[in-house]
């Protein structure tokens, strides 16, 4: 029995990195990996998907009813081919979390959300209580439905694979449409939202003023990152509450978290500790933040940030 991975993509025919992480998770299950591409106008995407490293077979379900991935028909579709799979994996993003549990309802399976580690073919680790606790869970279901987090499974390469492409012909489409797509409003801001950003650049009270946050914005511009702040910085009035990362603020888990002049109060750590890579810049070598960082630079942020900006530009 094989594993089926539902692919998630964005506009411009781009397969999301989290889909490649989902494939990486699937390859840990020691079985054949099939990927499923659902939507309309999938020509370019199926070509790209067939090259994803680690995918043996690519299933393509193309129909206008699947445009914008409505949960109801897509779950029906996967249910119709689920018999041949022991595992079905979706990325733990808005799409995967919409569709996968619905599929679980159709198949009468308890889904397992936000998997961050696969221990064996029935045992998984997932965060609970907003990430402050990790639970090891064992599934007794014959079929396992998982959504997986992108940050802990290193994405497979975009190329290197040569999957057999197979079109699904028998699409289980019902006459009755339960939900009708109206509009997609893409985030207008040039900056991504804090909670979903791939990179977050955060400042603490050591930034000294609201104006100095411009230095962080310049770094964020180079990395298409979002801006965050510690509560101390918010309390000092440098930025508004919306920017606060921490226990009482936003919980983020970007691939790269850059903490500038943040001492590392435990309340702040509660909001960012699931980040993949943490970099800390602080003039105090004793700052607790260094203990929870992968890399640190001790020094004056007013010297380091412009250097970093230049280095990022030059890249």
């Amino acid at each position: 029995m094989a594993v089926l991975v539902l692919l998630s993509y964005e506009k411009g025919d781009k397969i999301r990195p989290i889909s490649r992480s989902a494939i990486a998770a699937a390859t840990q299950l020691d079985t054949e990996v099939h990927a499923l591409l659902v939507g309309e106008n999938l020509e370019i995407l199926s070509q790209k998907a067939s090259q994803l490293n680690g995918v043996q077979k690519l299933l393509v379900a193309e129909h206008s009813a699947y445009a914008h991935m409505p949960a109801e028909p897509v779950a029906n579709l996967i249910a119709s081919i689920a018999e041949s799979y022991e595992f079905i994996i979706a990325p733990a993003n808005a799409e995967g979390k919409d569709i996968l549990p619905r599929l679980a309802g159709l198949l009468d399976v308890q889904p397992i959300s936000d998997v961050v580690e696969i221990i064996d073919t029935s045992t998984f680790v997932r965060p609970i209580y907003a990430g402050s606790i990790l639970a090891t869970v064992a599934s007794k279901d014959a079929k396992k439905l998982l959504s997986v987090r992108g940050t802990t499974f290193e994405a497979v390469a975009e190329t290197g694979g040569s999957a057999v492409v197979e079109k699904i012909e028998n699409l289980p489409l019902s006459e009755k449409q339960l939900s009708i797509f109206k509009e997609l409003k893409l985030s207008q801001s040039d900056r991504p939202e804090l909670e979903g950003a791939r990179v977050v650049v955060s400042g603490g009270r050591g930034m000294q003023s609201a104006e100095n946050f411009v230095l962080l914005e310049k770094i964020a511009d180079q990395l298409e990152g979002a801006i965050g702040a510690s509560r101390a910085a918010v309390d000092a009035g440098f930025v508004s509450n919306d920017f606060q990362v921490g226990q009482t603020g936003k919980i983020v888990a970007p691939e790269l978290y850059i903490a500038v002049a943040i001492s590392g109060a435990i309340q702040h750590l509660a909001g960012m500790k699931d980040s993949k890579i943490v970099v800390s810049i602080n003039k105090d070598p004793e700052a607790p933040m260094f203990k929870v960082s992968d890399y640190g630079i001790v020094g004056d942020l007013f010297e380091i940030l412009p250097q970093l900006e230049a280095a990022l530009k030059a890249r």
Binding site: E10, H68, A71, E72, A94, K97, D98, I99, L100, P101, R102, L103, A104, G105, L106, V109, Q110, P111, I112, S113, P127, I128, Y129, A130, I133, A135, T136, V137, S139, K140, K176, L178, S179, I180, F181, K182, E183, L184, K185, S187, V199, L223, L256, K273, K276, I277, V278, V279, S280, P285, F290, V292, D294, Y295, G296, I297, I304, L308, A311, R315
Partner: protein
């Protein structure tokens, strides 16, 4: 129009959860419990719709130990009309909860089941979707805006790159994002009134629903935030680490 709002009693989100010393689970004894904040958003929205006279009745349902009655009272103090308490000593997973809810949807015949997108304890984010599948209803997940008209709901969903607007054919299951609204503070007179609102209590055991555990919690552990903390001496060295070692830029 009638709305059913399931509400869960969970460890208050301000409490730092404590792992039991044998790692078998999270300590819930003696800990402050509250309504799941996502469900609170759902109750608030339902009550607002009732105040706008779009909805005629708001029924809240909770499944859990007898103390879950407090959670129902909180919802009724916010403005829900009546409560259903399904008593069970066991911790139930989303699949089981969805099956229990399915039973009560059949009984109550609501037009909408409005519920939190996830519970702040297990963060599974699945019950609403499973319920929608079991009922064969439309689903609208992670909703930050809701407008009702005859037989339809226009919803705005929070998705990865922005927002999506959908029209759902009712009946439907709708799950709420915290952005949907800011829940009210229950006033003292309303808390007193809520004590007199009716609660129907049913024992889960009497319903004959299969709630056998499918996903067993083997152990839990505090997630550690300690990292290596390599101190680099220059921006060049940092760039090198980020590009070649961590591969994040």
């Amino acid at each position: 129009m009638k709305i059913l709002v399931p509400v869960k009693r969970v460890v208050d989100s301000n409490i730092k959860p404590l792992v039991k010393s044998d790692n078998s689970g999270v300590e819930v004894g003696g800990v402050k419990m509250s309504m799941n904040p996502f469900d609170e958003t759902a109750v608030e929205e339902a009550v607002r719709l009732k105040e706008q006279k779009i909805v005629s009745e708001v029924v809240v349902i909770s499944i859990g130990e007898a103390k879950s009655q407090d959670t129902l009272r909180t919802a009724m103090a916010m403005g829900a009309d009546r409560g259903v308490l399904v008593t069970s000593e066991d911790a139930l997973e989303s699949l089981s909860v969805a099956k229990i809810l399915q039973h009560f949807v059949t009984k109550e015949q609501p037009d909408i089941v409005l519920m939190g997108k996830q519970a702040s304890d297990d963060d599974m984010n699945a019950t609403g979707q499973i319920l929608a599948a079991k009922l064969g209803w439309a689903q609208g997940t992670f909703v930050s805006k809701l407008e009702l008209s005859e037989g339809k709901a226009q919803i705005t969903r929070e998705i990865d790159d922005g927002q999506e607007i959908l029209e759902l054919v009712l009946p439907a299951v709708i799950t709420t994002d915290l952005r949907l609204n800011e829940p009210r503070f229950a006033s003292l007179p309303n808390i007193m009134k809520a004590k007199k609102k009716p609660i129907e209590t049913v024992a889960l055991a009497d319903l004959g629903i299969d709630t056998a555990v499918r996903l067993e919690v083997k152990s839990v552990a505090e997630s550690s935030s300690v990292r290596e903390g390599v101190i680099v001496s220059s921006v060049e060295e940092l760039m090198d680490k980020l590009q070649n070692e961590a591969k994040v830029i």
